[in-house]
Symmetry: C2
Subunit: 366 residues, 2 copies
């Protein structure tokens, strides 16, 4: 089979690298002539919204998927009816719009932050009065890695926030003073089989994920997160990998957002789980049996952001696995990640802290 | 860096898949337009002996290596002096000629079979008289997977053996009634660092490897095999992965042959070792620190020969890792392999036997 992937970033690259051993072939669509996945598979170079190129991608492949959720739902809906698209377009549409996403969480009784849609300065003031401060103003669409967000701590911040983001549909929500952040990742296959990974403990800085540890958190937390994930999977008759990110406060989960795709917080599964999230996404959309999701140890995944030490420096660290995405360095850019798989959580934490003190000395790890 | 690989078979394919996460790029040279590695990386289509294409491969890449040892040493020697070639050409030359290989083993005091070069029917008769029966007549060059071999059990077999192979330089050696077969795989880097993997226990049928179990054998056997491997690595100031296959009889090692490359008996290292043989070959030839070679469990690797069940059937087996090389089925052809990593050797053996009883019911496993 040939799998068409819209978006040729590092997620697409890792999907292809997981799919080759299964005997699959790949074709990517991405506007960048030097996209990470384009180094490892054929790529059509063009806009995600180009209806002709999307149609060509669909024609030349057996199933379409994406490594990036900010693609045109309208363009996907215009593809011939016989085109197999996984995950389902409805899930993609919900994840693209923060208001739709919040409504979905509420409909499925998944606790989330208090929120209000904002389309004018007056509505923003009303939302701040109703929900309170601190809060976050976010664009409804096209946000990722902390982009399109503005934190409000005092009433006076309304002006700056509105000036920064006011030209797009918005959402205002409470800023949750969380104890920590987690994410849950799972797959549902076209045969309806579901497999859920151990919970990930995530540390962000500047809106960008820096560190994931897994397995993480209590059994109760794992169960609750998996239960919420299954509700979304069932709701959409979902196919592929789905991720939900949560804040945890006083032992309770508060859904932050979902991603209808493989997720940065699941990169540890390449070495650290029996079957990686990338392989399970492909198994799910191809109708193959899902692979075991159990952890093979205590894992830490550290992102390489903006700059990276040489491979020689990194690989001198015993047991460290390097994933270099082949991207040119640029401030704030995810260039690669590192994974450690250790025998115990304390050992894992000690080694992760030591590595992070070199790579991101400014980061505080809870 | 871009790595040039002569030969685009499954070994080259797995080298590329191991090298992409290290941020490396690849270019292959192979005559087949549908070679396994050509599905995952760019390929120059042409003969291994084509001096112009080899020169182009060398020019467009930073270091040359090979996934197949039956390539022209003469053509490699004609490349510009500045071309980095790993493993060293001298090691390749020794491995290509069974007489040179036997002389090397003897020079390095590595026990091997009794043997004699054979260039005429009269020499064959003399060799059989001196070494005895049963024995094996083998072509000095271009043998692999049991090809170019003829077993002699009685003096009358001389005629048939000579008729089959007599038009090439030959070697006659004793047929060792071995208790079992093992292989040892290790890497030496351009910085002189050496790393050796746990011993592999191998089961062949019809000259083709069917099953590898690792770690395998006693500590004494592991130590002796590693000692012999290090002698060859040091002798050639070797760079890359080297493999030696041994017969084991009454607890003693008898070297059968060596391969100056990643080896089928090391495929279990992809999931089963901290660092795979493919990654360590690349680390070795790029001058990067070598990765840990310890096993992550008790591993079995089973080759898929000639035909293969569907991916759906195979992946329904819990914990089974599939490696499909993307090759068209053909009798005797290696189409892929399966790997199991288990908590104990008995569990591993039980699961491997069950799988093999389905895939190769004719195979007897010691």
């Amino acid at each position: 089979m040939t799998i068409g992937i819209v978006g040729a970033g590092q997620l697409g690259r890792m999907l292809a690298l997981a799919g080759y051993p299964l005997g699959q072939r790949f074709l990517f669509l991405d506007p960048s002539p030097d996209a990470p996945a384009g180094h490892v598979a054929p790529q059509i170079c063009g806009a995600f919204t180009d209806a002709k190129l999307l149609a060509r991608l669909a024609r030349e492949t057996d199933v379409l998927t994406f490594d990036w959720e900010n693609i045109s739902v309208e363009a996907l809906r215009k593809l011939p009816k016989r085109t197999r698209i996984s995950p389902p377009i409805d899930a993609l549409a919900a994840a693209q719009d923060r208001v739709e996403e919040k409504k979905l969480f509420e409909r499925l009784r998944i606790p989330t932050t208090r929120w209000q849609a904002v389309d004018s300065r007056a509505q923003l003031i009303k939302a701040v009065e109703r929900i309170g401060l601190p809060g976050v103003l976010k664009t409804r669409r096209l946000g990722y890695d902390g982009k399109g967000q503005h934190v409000l701590r005092r009433m006076q911040d309304v002006e700056a926030a509105w000036d920064a983001l006011g030209n797009a549909p918005l959402l205002y929500e409470e800023l949750v003073p969380f104890d920590f952040e987690v994410s849950i990742i799972g797959a549902r296959s076209v045969r309806g089989e579901v497999a859920v990974y151990p919970l990930n403990g995530n540390v962000h800085a500047g809106g960008i994920l820096r560190l994931t540890r897994a397995p993480f958190g209590s059994v109760a937390l794992q169960r609750a997160a998996a239960r919420y994930l299954r509700r979304v999977l069932t709701h959409f008759r979902y196919t592929g990998i789905l991720t939900i990110e949560f804040f945890v406060r006083r032992g309770r989960l508060i859904a932050n957002e979902m991603a209808p795709r493989v997720h940065n917080s699941g990169h540890w599964t390449i070495e650290g789980a029996e079957t990686s999230q990338f392989e399970n996404h492909l198994r799910a959309i191809l109708g193959l049996p899902l692979g075991a999701t159990r952890a093979r140890g205590h894992c830490a995944m550290i992102n390489l952001i903006g700059e990276k030490p040489t491979a020689a420096d990194l690989l001198a660290v015993e047991g460290l696995h390097l994933h270099d995405y082949g991207k040119a360095p640029r401030p704030g850019r995810k260039l690669g990640h590192l994974t450690l798989v250790e025998r115990s959580a304390p050992l894992r934490d000690r080694r992760a802290r030591r590595l992070l003190s070199r790579l991101a000395p400014e980061l505080r790890i809870p």
